[in-house]
């Protein structure tokens, strides 16, 4: 006969596994939100179909998958708990999803990831440091951010994330419909090919709220 303590420990283990999986899910959700924010990903959606395409191709799907697996693991374990199997699985899945999403959004609003991100950049973060260095700041191919230094008729001079002065060239044929009211000190996102210190703009949009992360921080280049 197995002693009572065995069943008590099994219960503790099950609850512990669920708590750990919830922690990981919340971490992954908030990490994705953080990385989308600092990479200026949300602004890509303002670029229409082209921006959407870049968004889809550069999205951190691996982290998303890790979060999804953690959620499935929670649902799998929680099914053994009485409160869960007494109700339709849909309720359990929705409850877990809402809990993780709310906690994830709340965590993303704190400075936790920012601090960990900075530590990772200084190589002072063990275990998850690589995650931040690899996926923290994603820079999709041909997508650039910078601060407007000077605006001329067919060119815009910006200070890029790597601190360089870059010239954005705007086609003279007027095919590029960009926000004409861009002013000095505005933060802008540019889609276009960069050659040395020039970017041939395909599209330009003003962005707000995003912190300019220096590009000397290791980033993941998405092709």
């Amino acid at each position: 006969m197995k002693p009572r303590i065995y069943f008590l420990l099994m219960d503790i283990f099950s609850y512990g596994a669920v708590i750990l999986a919830v922690f990981f899910s919340v971490f992954f959700v908030s990490f994705i939100l953080f990385t989308l924010k600092i990479s200026g990903f949300w602004f890509l959606l303002r670029f229409g179909l082209l921006g959407f395409k870049i968004f889809i191709f550069s999205f951190p799907w691996l982290i998303f998958l890790a979060g999804l697996l953690s959620l499935l693991f929670i649902a799998f374990i929680v099914r053994n708990f009485e409160f869960s199997w007494k109700n339709p699985l849909l309720y359990t899945v929705l409850a877990i999803l809402v809990l993780v999403l709310i906690s994830g959004v709340a965590t993303a609003k704190t400075s936790l990831h920012q601090r960990l991100f900075e530590k990772a950049g200084q190589n002072r973060l063990p275990l998850v440091g690589n995650l931040y260095r690899r996926y923290g700041l994603i820079q999709p191919k041909n997508t650039h951010m910078g601060k407007v230094l000077q605006k001329m008729e067919h060119t815009i001079q910006i200070e890029s994330q790597d601190g360089q002065e870059i010239i954005i060239t705007i086609p003279e044929n007027g095919k590029l419909e960009y926000e004409k009211d861009i002013e000095e000190d505005d933060l802008i996102m540019i889609i276009g090919e960069r050659k040395d210190k020039t970017i041939k703009a395909v599209n330009i949009r003003r962005i707000e709220d995003t912190q300019m992360i220096p590009l000397n921080f290791p980033t993941k280049k998405v092709k």
């Binding site: 009572r4 065995y6 099914r79």
Partner: protein, 187 residues
Amino acid sequence: MWEQVQKTDEEIAKSVQSGNTDVFGILVELYEEKIKRYARKFLSGQEDIKDVVQNIFIKAYENIQSFDTNRKFSSWLYRIAHNELVNALKKKKRSPLLFFDFDTFFPYPVEKSDPVQKVEFQEMRQILDKCLGKLDSKYREPLILYYFEELGYKEIADVLRIPISTVGIRLKRGREILKSIYQKLNQ
């Protein structure tokens, strides 16, 4: 011993939990035939049935400390039997392990007990006995628990670990399937 016989199943189980292991035999005597009858609905070989029933009582004895004496002992024992039978059937034919099925995923209104069911009870038992093998195990088990083991919706839900509303929907669909199989057989 006579004192123990007068006790409820749950009280006997509590007694086993507190160290009076000899009285576990009373529970075996009380449930052996029921569990054998239950196993017979799933397995055919006499040796298989004997082995599975033996395993069910060994598992029950080993895990008796996990039994909550505020709950029904019969539901707990049938749960062990259900697990053992599922394992035994899996060994016989490799069936895919489903994470969930749609009956347990979506909410359904709880089916109210229908007075006609009581009249049809005996008839359904006979049909079930004849057509059991042709029925999907998803519907077979709640029907057996309801018509042969005479468990209520709540107890079946506890044994199968599914919502009560799902028990209702499976019994309803199971009855419909069973009737159509029976009609085809009699045509």
